[in-house]
Symmetry: C2
């Protein structure tokens, strides 16, 4: 079995799942795609790409939390991990969360209705943001594949800062960004994704992830970059003192 994240959750890089799917088909390998980040943001075709299993989640496309789905291609056999009742055709026991299922369906419908226009809008906003940051804040690099990535994610390494401190100070100013993956928050380890890109631990710990969404505007970006500039300057002045 091959299991691939379609779009990386920290840096947004999009994997060529079509080519991987061809290899899987030729070699008769079960192919699982984690499409949680990409579903509803970029168009792709599980059947055409020879995908056997695909994981998606509602809260990534403005649907309710607590609901996801597993696409299972015809003929792919699964062993269940949650046993008990016969719900979901005996594949996953437990009372179904009908309101969340309905919400997920509606959220998907809404996301697909504007998928191209919204992706384009977010990409322009993100590119505007990165240009502004590179112009106004010294020693910043953008991580990952700059051409082949999700339109709403930006991973930035800001030399001579600590990401946790940047986050904390931006939070005080009403701005929420992250230091990487939510799955790793609470751990003190540097991002394995950034280490795999060749960053050392210090650089990885100086990296932030900025995610844009359908409710963000150009004014938000202007305000964010202004506050980021202040916070980074403050942080660097402090580190000069010690």
């Amino acid at each position: 079995m091959i299991s691939i994240i379609h779009a990386n959750n920290e840096i947004g890089t999009i994997q060529d799942i079509k080519s991987i799917g061809e290899i899987c088909k030729a070699k008769n390998i079960i192919f699982h795609v984690d499409a949680v980040q990409s579903f509803g943001k970029i168009l792709f075709y599980p059947e055409e790409y020879n995908i056997n299993l695909m994981s998606i989640a509602a809260h990534k496309l403005y649907g309710p939390k607590g609901i996801g789905a597993l696409y299972i291609s015809s003929g792919t056999k699964l062993e269940k991990i949650i046993t008990g009742g016969y719900q979901e055709r005996n594949r996953r026991a437990g009372t179904e969360n009908i309101p969340a299922i309905a919400g997920f369906a509606k959220a998907t419908e809404l996301a697909y209705s504007t998928i191209h226009a919204e992706s384009q809008r977010e990409k322009e906003l993100r590119d505007y943001m990165e240009t502004l940051i590179l112009k106004n804040i010294p020693l910043v690099t953008i991580n990952g594949d700059l051409n082949n990535r999700l339109s709403n994610v930006s991973s930035l390494t800001i030399d001579n800062t600590m990401a946790e401190s940047i986050l904390f100070n931006l939070d005080l100013r009403g701005i929420c960004i992250s230091a990487g993956s939510a799955c790793s928050s609470g751990t003190l380890n540097p991002s394995h994704v950034l280490l795999a890109l060749g960053h050392d631990t210090k650089m990885a710990k100086s990296s932030i992830r900025v995610s844009l969404g359908k409710f963000n505007t150009k004014e938000d970006i202007d305000e964010f970059v202004k506050q980021l500039e202040l916070v980074v300057e403050q942080e660097r002045n402090l580190s000069d003192l010690y």
Copy 2:
């Protein structure tokens, strides 16, 4: 390990978890209680009863669907079944459903604030219903332990009827009851609970479960018994024809 359902989901019988907990403690056996049906309806004390693990679910006490909780006593070690991120102290990976968690807490608070009064009210309503049914509909028996059961559940065997047909006809009249456990709906097997009580397959398939709730009134009961009487009569007349 001993795993016991506190109150049976089909017939409402309450198990003596306090005594079982004493045995478990004396013999050093891990004790799990499925309290999904009883939590918020009857008072009990996991710590005092030597319970190591207890499962509960929000939707059984008017909270949101899709959220449950596992009580884990101090010192009880668990192997996780859902792996990945470090959420929930590394015990269950996946983005937490915060709105549902908050809703569950509020639902619990509300349930506990009226636990005695509401139990008593539902018990009186249930007893009134059963008296009315036994008086008006021939060949009905009540299943399970009549003294030691949840106040809101009634399991009835109605001779010479098919539960599925009763359900269907009541549904057409706007009344929702069930033929047993939701976990078994979709299967054609008779209830294992009723078989264990000594019912044969035919009797088990003539059994319905009626659950009352905080929104039910005496008028609902009167209407339900009236409709049930009509539906049972119709069903028995039909079975006489064939």
